[in-house]
Symmetry: C2
Subunit: 333 residues, 2 copies
């Protein structure tokens, strides 16, 4: 049996389509008896408005795409995505908007832009740590608003929506925490230099160290992954064998770094204190548990959702919110 339509409801309630629509839309200028009849009929039939018809008539889809790199979703890197995803989906859900999951990889090069033009979504939230190059331009050219979670590598228009955390402040927090623990022979395992957040973390770290009077702290670079963290730590140890504090600018790199330190006979934190960045789940499962600069990932997702919804509703909102980072003290520093 087909799904009941508004006409069915109206027929049973003995009123016209328009009246039934008014009642179900919550308008008040309807006779109470009729309204009750409509409510009753709708409940009886289990009526629910057909979303396609509403969409077609109303012009709004009531849906937002979440563009994510699926190949990383179930990896360690993925814990970053899932936190943001969770926040974004919750935020959209609260706004009565459907989150549509779109795999950014596996793209045939045309489906995402086509999807953006199909009217099936009102906007998109992009959650990519490493952007897929062929996607950047289509996303920038998107006919619907896009919210970026984290600064992408590509330059964006000044009115672009970008949700980021305070990477600069996070870098300062890490430096101060190590200094407060009495460490003075410090090194940093930074992210790739072509990524804005990575540069900001370095800048915060350096500024704070400068204020503390600590100079010439060496920098090595990784790719935010566990293995690149191990490799970077090995290089750092070679350059600076007697260091007593390391800031790894992702938790995964911190994890890789700690393994290398332990393999090299250094105790963490007694010989070398280590601070990470992100506060993803691995930080609590490693041994020692990781002291880290927390990015409020779930909040970032939620703010992305709220911001794009506000933009769609024509509201005047901050299009570049920056969420504060904070230090989470655990065992490693």
């Amino acid at each position: 049996m087909p799904r009941p339509t508004l006409v069915d409801v109206a027929k049973i309630a003995g009123v016209s389509r328009a009246t039934a629509a008014r009642v179900l839309a919550g308008e008040t200028n309807v006779d109470a008896t009729m309204a009750a009849a409509v409510e009753h009929a709708a409940k009886e039939l289990g009526y629910e408005a057909n979303s396609a018809a509403r969409m077609l008539r109303g012009g709004r889809a009531g849906a937002i795409a979440l563009i994510v790199a699926f190949n990383e979703l179930d990896s360690l890197t993925g814990t970053f995505f899932t936190s943001v995803l969770k926040g974004a989906a919750k935020g959209l859900y609260a706004g009565e908007v459907q989150p549509i999951l779109v795999p950014a990889d596996h793209d045939d090069g045309d489906r995402i832009p086509r999807f953006l033009r199909s009217g099936a979504i009102d906007g998109a939230i992009v959650i990519l740590q490493h952007e897929i190059t062929h996607l950047a331009q289509p996303l920038i050219d998107s006919p619907v608003p896009i919210a970026w979670v984290g600064q992408p590598r590509v330059p964006l228009a000044p009115d672009a929506i970008v949700i980021d955390s305070d990477n600069y402040g996070g870098g300062r927090l890490a430096a101060r925490a190590l200094a407060d623990a009495g460490r003075r022979r410090l090194g940093i395992i930074a992210g790739p230099n072509d990524m804005e957040p990575a540069r900001e973390r370095i800048r915060g770290w350096r500024d704070e160290l400068a204020e503390l009077g600590i100079d010439n702290s060496p920098i090595v670079h990784g790719e935010f992954t566990l293995v690149s963290g191990s490799a970077a730590m090995a290089r750092l140890l070679k350059r600076y064998p007697d260091l007593d504090g390391v800031f790894a600018s992702s938790d995964l790199m911190a994890s890789g770094a700690i393994r290398v330190l332990q393999a090299a006979g250094r105790q963490v934190p007694s010989d070398v204190a280590v601070i990470g960045f992100d506060d993803v789940s691995i930080a609590t499962t490693m041994d020692p548990t990781l002291t880290t600069v927390r990015q409020p990932l779930e909040d970032m997702g939620r703010v992305a959702a709220e911001t794009i919804l506000a933009v769609l509703r024509g509201g005047d909102v901050d299009r570049r919110p920056i969420l504060t980072t904070s230090l989470v003290r655990r065992e490693s520093a």
Copy 2:
């Protein structure tokens, strides 16, 4: 400027709506000159069919809901979901169907059933380890087909779509692997007794042990979580202090168990060999890395997608596929 419609394309190409539609639908019985004009006009305008109109007219939504417990998404338990999610989304994407993410928790008790009735989706894939009780009945009563990934605790109709892995076979694999490693004093940390997959793992484990002539192996129960695994291991050690092999029926419980074993001075695997179940990411990051019975989670998601798509297309498919489990040998056994 508004999105171009089929009428715009037809106007530029100098043909009627119907002809333009025919060309874009790939029908061949159209004059080549006209077809070329339509193709050209469509490309020039960046035309993409309005999905709402297509949906309304065609009756199909072209979307499948993925119902997931969001509170667990970024936790350790969540790695289970994300793998399935990834497979399901890939499978749907391959079938040209949009995956819509639906948070199962945070439900106000009515939105999910209403959504199922809104025509916005053609079906749903349910990925819940611990079902939300108030959702079970609405899901069972759903007007659209539902595919369950993993046996839920509630009884389902015989024609329900359930994608599961071979839990029984997995239990046998674990028993045999420990026996092959020369272990004879074995114990099992099982899942909750009211969950079918947990019972099946026990049954497989026992049958294999019986064939191997190992009797009276003790059973303790956990809740599939890390802490419950620790607690269960502590109970097991007290009951059976000289055991030399443990099968924990989830990787998280195995992780908790190993910590307790190590804290009790037992070396893993030399004193006690441990085998887990699932093969989620933690299995590769713990120390020692975990030998485990692999559930093909991503495949399960993909098969769920393929099965529900086949059902929607009226195909005759296996509605209860069981995917094989396999042993992944690492360091812990």
